[in-house]
């Protein structure tokens, strides 16, 4: 494990062009989904927005929140939350789908 002073050091300032590029992607995805809202039928109509939302969340987490520069314990906590959500979701739908 690295020294505390290294692990806990504040994230380095991100480069402005990267932030702006991420913002353009976020706004673009929002605009595209607004323009094509409710255009997809069936399972794809549910899956596509969830994928787009997750992609937007990952962009915010990695670049605006600097998760990629965080200490290992923070990254581990993030994956524990994701795993917990997936398990709860699967348990819920294993009940709902076969009821």
């Amino acid at each position: 494990m690295r020294e505390d002073s290294q692990d806990n050091a504040p994230a380095a300032p991100g480069r402005t062009p990267v932030y702006v590029l991420v913002w353009v992607l976020l706004i673009g995805l929002t605009a595209v989904t607004a323009a094509s809202a409710r255009g997809l039928e069936g399972g794809l109509g549910v899956l596509a927005p969830v994928v787009v939302a997750s992609l937007q969340a990952v962009l915010v987490l990695l670049y605006f929140m600097h998760l990629k520069d965080e200490a290992g314990v923070v990254k581990a906590m993030f994956w524990v939350v994701v795993a917990a959500l997936i398990v709860v979701f699967l348990l819920l739908f294993s009940d709902v789908a076969f009821r």
Binding site: D4, P10, P13, V20, T33, A34, V50, F64, V88
Partner: protein
């Protein structure tokens, strides 16, 4: 205490409090996961009712609100970067812009809510009482999640104004930047929750 020891202690304090902030954000994510799971389960059970309810939502206003908050996230990220580079005045401008965008978002949400409520689309209202199965649940969850989220955005906007005042007073040194970074995390979390609200409620229908 020598400057080196003081720096190390400050860095450790920052790391501990930042870990605490991430823990708080994790609990927020799990808290919001509950209503989102309800949304998924009832959406699976009442696909027709959810589609009809989603069609009642104003996609343009929903997208406008999402864009305002995401642009606020950019401003917060730029403010943190500006403080770290010692450009306090620029950071204050970015923080004011982000807070303003927060209030714009709240204004858009208020206009949306007023529109739906005026059409009787409120839990227990006449328009939903006569609606097909699932529509009342959809709007119940919509008002609960968006209301809670709006309260968070209001708190975040006020916090950003407090941070702007601190940076203006000259707290642009490292401790001030660390505090701003943690406040920014709250704002970005509000953006993440909003993209799920927008995509699930406005688009999936």
């Amino acid at each position: 205490m020598t400057p080196d020891v003081k720096d190390a202690a400050m860095s450790r304090d920052h790391g501990d409090s930042k870990l605490g902030m991430w823990l708080f954000l994790a609990s927020v994510a799990l808290f919001f996961a509950g209503p989102f799971l309800l949304f998924a389960a009832y959406g699976y059970r009442y696909p027709g009712g959810f589609a009809a309810a989603s069609a009642e939502l104003d996609v343009v206003l929903g997208a406008a609100g999402a864009m305002a908050l995401l642009t606020g996230s950019l401003a917060v990220a730029l403010a943190v970067g500006a403080v770290r580079r010692g450009r306090g005045a620029r950071a204050v401008l970015f923080l004011y812009a982000a807070a303003l965008l927060g209030f714009v978002f709240l204004g858009v949400r208020a206009v949306e809510w007023a529109g739906y409520l005026s059409r009787g689309l409120r839990p227990g209202g006449p328009a939903l009482a006569a609606a097909p199965g699932g529509k009342a649940v959809f709007f119940g969850l919509y008002f609960f999640i968006t209301g809670l989220h709006a309260l968070g955005v209001l708190g975040g906007s006020v916090l950003l104004l407090v941070m702007a005042a601190m940076v203006r007073r000259g707290a642009a040194a490292r401790p001030g930047a660390a505090r701003l970074e943690k406040t920014g995390l709250i704002w970005h979390m509000a953006s993440i929750i909003l993209v799920y609200i927008y995509q699930l409620f406005y688009i999936t229908g």
